[in-house]
Symmetry: C2
Amino acid sequence: MNRLYHFPLSPFCRKVRLTLAEKKLEVELVEERYWEPSADFLRRNPAGKVPILKMDSKMLTESQAICEYLEETHPTPPLMPRDPEERFEVRKLCAWFDDKFHKEVTSNLVYERVNKKVMKLGYPDSKAVKLGAQRIKYHLDYMAWLLDQRRWLAGDVMTLADFTAAAHLSCLDYISDVDWNRSTNVKDWYAKIKSRPSFRPLLADQVPGFPPPSHYADLDF
Amino acid sequence: MNRLYHFPLSPFCRKVRLTLAEKKLEVELVEERYWEPSADFLRRNPAGKVPILKMDSKMLTESQAICEYLEETHPTPPLMPRDPEERFEVRKLCAWFDDKFHKEVTSNLVYERVNKKVMKLGYPDSKAVKLGAQRIKYHLDYMAWLLDQRRWLAGDVMTLADFTAAAHLSCLDYISDVDWNRSTNVKDWYAKIKSRPSFRPLLADQVPGFPPPSHYADLDF
C-alpha cells in the first residue's frame, strides 16, 4: 500500500493527494507533525518537509517532482498535455502558485492563522495577514483573466496547474479567506474542481481547534 | 535571436544560461534590475522575477519550467535521463537546490552580502550570514554523500541537477563562500562542471563594486 506522510492544510500535500486520487492510486494517509521532526521522519526526508510519498520501496519527496513522476508512470488520466508549449504553461503556473502565490498569500494567511497556533509559535503577525488579504485579490484577478481566455487555467483541458491552484485555494477556503464573489469565472472553475471525487477527502479534513466554515464542504457554495 | 533578461548573480538565471549553452542555443543577455521594475518588465513577467527568456515570440518564465521546455524542444544533448525514476531524482534535486539550498544558503549569503548592497537595502544581517555559513557545510556534506555513490549528483550521467547545484555554488564562489577543502569529491565534481564551455560566460561576469576572488575563474582552483 502506498503511504503519504502529510499535513492536512499543506497545499503541497493536497496537490499530491489530488494527483494520486485523479489517477486512482490508493494511499494510506499518515499525519506528520513536521515541525517536531522525529529521527524516523528526517531519515525519510532530510529536507524535513512534507509530503513524503512511500511507493513500493521508494521514498518520494518534493511535490512537483512527485506529481511529474506519477504523470510519467501512471499517464491515465493525463494531467499534462502533450505539446511542449502547453506543458510549459502548466509547469509555469504550478511554479507561480507554489512559489509566488504561496509566499504572498498562503504563507501570510494559512501559516500565520493556523500553523503558528498548531505549532505553538504564538499569535499571527497582523501585518502579514493584512498583506496576504491584499495580495489574494491580485491573484484572484489574475486567475479571472486567465479563465476569461481559457476553460482551465493552463488551456482548454484540466491539468496539474488547476490542481495546484485548487490545493492552495482549498486551504485558504478552510479559513474563509477566499472572496468567491470577486469573480464569477473563478468561482465556477473552483466549483467544477471541488465537485470531483478526488476532492472529497480534502473536504472531510479537520484541523483540531479550527472547524471549517459551513460553505467549505458545500458543493453549492 | 533569443534574449534572456537576467541578473548576473541569480542562480536561477545561471541555471537557464547553462542549459541554453549546453544545448548550443545562442542568446543575447540583457541585465535586468528586477528590484526597480519598469512597466515593460512587469508586462514581460507579472511575477516581477528574472530569468525571462524571449524565444521566438514567446516570453518564458520560471527557471525549472524553462529548462524542462528546452529539454523537450531541444533534446540534444540530453540533460534529463529517460527512466522515470531517474528523472524523478533529477527533479527532486533541482527542487532541493532551488528551494531548500536557496532559502538556507544562497539567500543568506549572496542576497545579504551582494544583492542588498546593489539594491541599496542596507547592510547584511549578520545573523543570516552566520546561519548561511553554517548551513552550507551541511549541504556540502550532503553533496559529498551523494557523490560517494554516484559520478554525478543524480546518477551516473550529468543532468540538470548538476547545473542547478553548480549555478548556486558559482554565485557563492563569487563571494568566496564555498570551502572547497571540505570534500574532495565535491571539489572534483565542481572542477568538471566549471571546465565546460557552457560555464565560461558565467566566469566572466562581474558585479560592479564586487570583484570576484582570483580563484573564481581559475579552472585549477
